[in-house]
């Protein structure tokens, strides 16, 4: 079918009629639905049975013949994954959290039939004296601004019509009909959009370089090989709003002169792959992909290529090698992808989140985009907030928001009254940022200045119970395992750094350990082939900078101050012990002895340091030293 702007508008109007409750600008008075129930259908919520909840609700509605009154929508991510499975009832955006399948019966009967919200199932922080806050007004959403995630939570990602109703594919129409390729690239350049995959390279410059590179065949690639530990920004965008990426890739194709795009997505994201396949199929059916889009000469096809689970394939040259069916290892640059990328042809590679920003920029103009964020890092950035933080989830914040705002206000602080220790950004290439830098604004340059980096958006919070050396060991373990093995410094160097870190955490560190780490760090940084190797030592260097005393405690005093490194930690029972015997009964190796109501003692030689006694003691009489 060939698409025209009239048809697009028709689909939009038609679909909008049934989307009256979805937080849209045009709330139609003659609403077809009384209630709209949005249920998060992303990996995280689905793993806690959101699909079953949706199924159950549909059964109830069907049973009572209420299908005309209540709509049920599976949506993309709302953000507060910690509260999953999330159900939002509209109007009102009432926020139900941590639901079990049977809870939906109560919500149905009380809220949807009788109009009485079920208070004990509602997210506590949204309960006020006068009623219930909308999901979008809870403290977690404060400071957030959604561009890349603009439609997530509102539309059904499996229905292209809902994307169109939200203004989808209008940017593509605008580009194809009203703009020249040069003008499109000018707008992207002017917006100052920087690549969200990690490097922060100016997107417009990348587009231009590929456009002017001579070649009769060019390619657009979307890098969806997200692999940083704790990162799930791109997965959420693909699962919640796949068309925003598809539309942007077509726009990029028009701008640089390419008629073929590939989405390189990791096979470990089955739901994202399924939604993407479905979305590409729907776009093809409506003529928004394929031949002569909007009746122009421009044609664009999109295909999916699955990655097989190598972290390094997120590196562009390794990624193209993998698409070509070769071993996914990076190669030396130049030539750059803009000149010789996929199959030796000019290729433009952006990541998922970068693409997701494009339709917004084209529709709203570069000025609107630049109003958000900072001068050198305009726009927003999506972060996957995890670790020792109350509100684990996905947040999209304007650049320039401080780390403190993210940790304390959006994140809700550290649970269990523990003290903040560090925030890790930038994945394995980034670093740990200590409390002294909490007021740093989050943007590409500020984070690099303090020894970390923006990276793709992983943000892992650590508290006083995390050991800095152990954190460095964790990241080095990841990097050494994910090193492709091609170049000497990364292949051999990361292994040696890991060995030294293991030695330190197991009490075998000596006065040569830190100097050896620093020398290896320097070598991998200077001599490695790709960014994975060049930045591999950052987790060590950044923890050494802020927590050098912790390294020294491990090495000189054979002590782990955080009590994490088992070999250096012993458990003792203090005289707070009330002799309840709970510890002794739980000890798997029976190494705790003591008479009832008397002080118990741990035989540290027998102790396997599992920590069970520590967590079971009702009076916190057990200490780690």
């Amino acid at each position: 079918m060939s698409m025209t702007i009239e048809k697009l508008k028709e689909i939009r109007e038609e679909t909008l009629k049934r989307m009256n409750l979805r937080g849209l600008p045009s709330d139609k008075p003659n609403a077809p639905y009384r209630w709209s129930v949005a249920i998060c259908m992303e990996t995280s919520c689905m793993s806690s049975k959101s699909r079953e909840i949706k199924q159950r609700l549909l059964e109830l509605i069907e049973r009572d013949g209420k299908t005309d009154e209540i709509e049920v929508v599976g949506t993309g991510c709302f953000g507060l994954c910690e509260a999953g499975p999330i159900v939002i009832v509209r109007p009102g955006d009432t926020f139900y959290y941590h639901l079990d399948v049977e809870d939906i019966d109560r919500i149905y009967e009380s809220h949807l039939l009788d109009g009485e919200p079920v208070k004990d199932l509602i997210y506590p922080e949204s309960i006020t004296e006068d009623g219930y806050l909308s999901y979008f007004d809870i403290p977690f959403m404060a400071h957030q601004e959604r561009i890349a995630l603009r439609s997530s939570g509102h539309i059904d990602p499996e229905d292209i019509r809902e994307y169109i109703a939200f203004g989808g594919y209008e940017a593509l129409y605008k580009a194809l009909i009203e703009m020249t390729p040069d003008e499109v690239i000018d707008v992207i350049t002017e917006s100052g959009l920087r690549g969200r995959g990690g490097g922060g390279f100016l997107a417009g410059r990348k587009w231009r370089a590929t456009q002017v590179s001579p070649g009769d065949e060019k390619f657009i690639i979307c890098n969806a090989d997200e692999g940083d530990p704790g990162a799930f920004m791109d997965r959420s965008i693909l699962e919640g709003d796949p068309h925003s990426v598809i539309e942007a890739m077509a726009i990029a194709g028009y701008a640089i002169g390419s008629d073929q795009g590939y989405v390189y997505v990791r096979a470990e994201y089955p739901i994202a792959v399924e939604r993407l396949e479905n979305a590409i199929g729907q776009a093809n059916d409506l003529g928004l992909l394929g031949e002569n889009i909007f009746g122009t000469d421009f044609s664009f096809d999109l295909e999916i290529r699955l990655g097989a689970g190598a972290f390094v394939c997120g590196e562009t040259t390794a990624l193209t090698a993998s698409i070509e069916g070769r071993r996914g290892t990076p190669r030396s640059r130049p030539p750059y992808s803009a000149d010789k990328g996929l199959w030796g042809k000019p290729t433009m590679i952006n990541n998922v989140e970068t693409f997701a920003n494009i339709p917004y920029i084209l529709l709203n103009g570069p000025e609107a985009f630049k109003k958000i964020g900072t001068e050198k890092s305009p726009g927003t950035k999506v972060f996957a907030l995890s670790g020792k933080i109350k509100n684990v989830g996905l947040v999209e914040i304007p650049m320039g928001t401080t780390l403190r705002q993210v940790v304390e206000e959006i994140g809700g602080g550290i649970p269990n009254g523990k003290a903040f220790k560090a925030v890790q950004t930038g994945g394995p290439s980034g670093g740990c940022i200590g409390p002294e830098h909490l007021d740093t604004p989050i943007d590409f340059d500020s984070l690099t200045e303090i020894g970390s980096m923006m990276g793709s958006g992983g943000m892992i919070i650590m508290d006083e119970d995390n050991c800095a050396v152990d954190v460095a060991r964790f990241y080095m373990d990841f990097i050494a395992d994910e090193s492709c093995g091609k170049c000497t410094p990364c292949r051999e160097g990361t292994k040696r750094m890991l060995e030294i870190l293991i030695d330190i955490t197991e009490g075998r560190g000596d006065e040569t350990s830190i100097p050896r780490l620093e020398r290896l760090a320097r070598t991998t940084e200077l001599a490695s082939l790709c960014a994975l190797g060049q930045t591999s030592a950052n987790p060590i260097l950044s923890t050494l900078k802020t927590f050098r005393d912790e390294y020294e405690a491990h090495i000189k005093e054979k002590r782990c101050p955080a009590g994490v490194c088992k070999a250096l930690t012993n458990y003792f029972i203090t005289d707070k012990c009330i002799g309840c015997g709970l510890c002794a009964r739980n000890c798997p190796v029976s190494c705790i002895k003591g008479e009832r109501k008397e002080l118990h003692v741990i035989d540290t030689d027998q102790c396997i340091k599992c920590g069970l006694c520590y967590s079971k003691c009702p009076v916190k009489a057990i200490v780690k030293k």
């Binding site: 071993r327 410094p489 292949r491 070598t523």
Partner: protein, 319 residues
């Protein structure tokens, strides 16, 4: 032509040339383990790092094209220190076997370790191929493999892939566990390896060794050496005759200029110049997979039939 400065010396180079090739053309040697003039640059060993235009980030000389006015320093203290670290990383994963290694004397790792004063040292870290040198694949009568010595430069993989129908060797595994594998990690005998010895000819260390030369215990520096061409076909691949006392052995030389090297050619040259003819082996498909089987020289050189006709003919004509 492009003008650039290398170590203070103004040199000219052709557009598109790498810094490494431009330097070599002017007699300036830059250490490199994975570079081969006949192969695409892998830039994997990282030894050829040089300083370009005074920038703090060194570039690999093999993968960086020359530019007009470029200023290159190949031997700054920082560069030398980084090279020493890289060599140390390689030696930490390499058995101390230079005394008995067939490659001694022409091993590039040995050469650079000597130049940069890097030595073997004991450590308690992991070693990819174990602490002791040992041949890990002795299945081929022509090629010996010792994975403990492999520095993963990738030359063998690249040269094997130059001929599409061969492409037997490839990398397997990743990170520290990376290795070179024949087909699906099989022995050379069980794999589709055709024993052309291209890989042996390009290996910079003792990881791939010509078995027949080793069995004669001749190392290149103690032999009279002479390059000859194979006459089996029009390519004229080059072989080297190593002569020590009455012993003569041959080995294939680097397959440069599109020359393929092949087993038949090797046996041809062996038959022509070796001091003794050792049993030739052919690979055959059997029920138990591919096997090397003893064969006759006449069969190995595919002379059966022809030889009879020639003999007949010459008898008939009364000679």
């Amino acid at each position: 032509m492009i003008k650039l400065t290398i170590n203070g010396q103004t040199v000219t180079a052709e557009d598109g040339m790498s810094i490494l090739d431009a330097a070599l053309a002017h007699g300036i040697e830059i250490p490199a383990l994975c570079h081969d003039p006949d192969l695409k640059p892998e830039s994997s060993c990282r030894l050829c790092l040089v300083e370009v235009d005074g920038r703090p980030w060194p570039r690999v000389a093999c993968g960086t094209p020359v530019k007009d006015g470029m200023v290159v320093e190949t031997n700054t203290p920082e560069i030398r220190a980084t090279r020493r670290e890289i060599l140390q990383l390689l030696l930490d994963n390499h058995p101390n076997d230079c005394l008995t290694c067939q490659k001694a004397g022409e091993c590039l790792l040995q050469k650079y370790a000597y130049e940069y004063g890097v030595t073997f040292r004991t450590h308690n870290g992991a070693r990819r191929g174990g602490e002791k040198a040992r041949f890990t694949d002795t299945s081929s009568p022509y090629i010996l493999r010792d994975e403990s010595k492999c520095i993963l430069c990738g030359k063998c993989v690249s040269t094997c892939a130059e001929l599409n129908e061969r492409s037997v060797l490839s990398f397997a595994g990743r990170g520290f566990e990376t290795k070179v594998a024949a087909d699906r990690d099989e022995t050379l005998e069980a794999s589709t390896c055709v024993s052309c010895s291209r890989c042996v000819a390009v290996c910079p260390v003792g990881a791939l060794i010509d078995r027949r030369v080793r069995e004669k215990k001749i190392r290149p520096w103690e032999a009279d050496r002479q390059t000859i061409q194979c006459k089996a076909c029009e390519y004229g691949c080059e072989y080297e005759v190593l002569k020590k006392g009455d012993e003569r052995v041959i080995r294939p030389l680097s397959p440069s200029g599109g020359r393929p090297l092949c087993l038949k050619g090797r046996l041809f040259v062996e038959a022509e110049v070796s001091s003794d003819l050792r049993t030739p082996y052919k690979k055959e498909e059997t029920e138990k997979g591919r096997k090397f089987v003893r064969t006759t020289w006449i069969e190995a050189l595919e002379l059966d039939g022809i030889l009879d006709r020639i003999t007949c003919n010459e008898t008939d004509s009364g000679k």
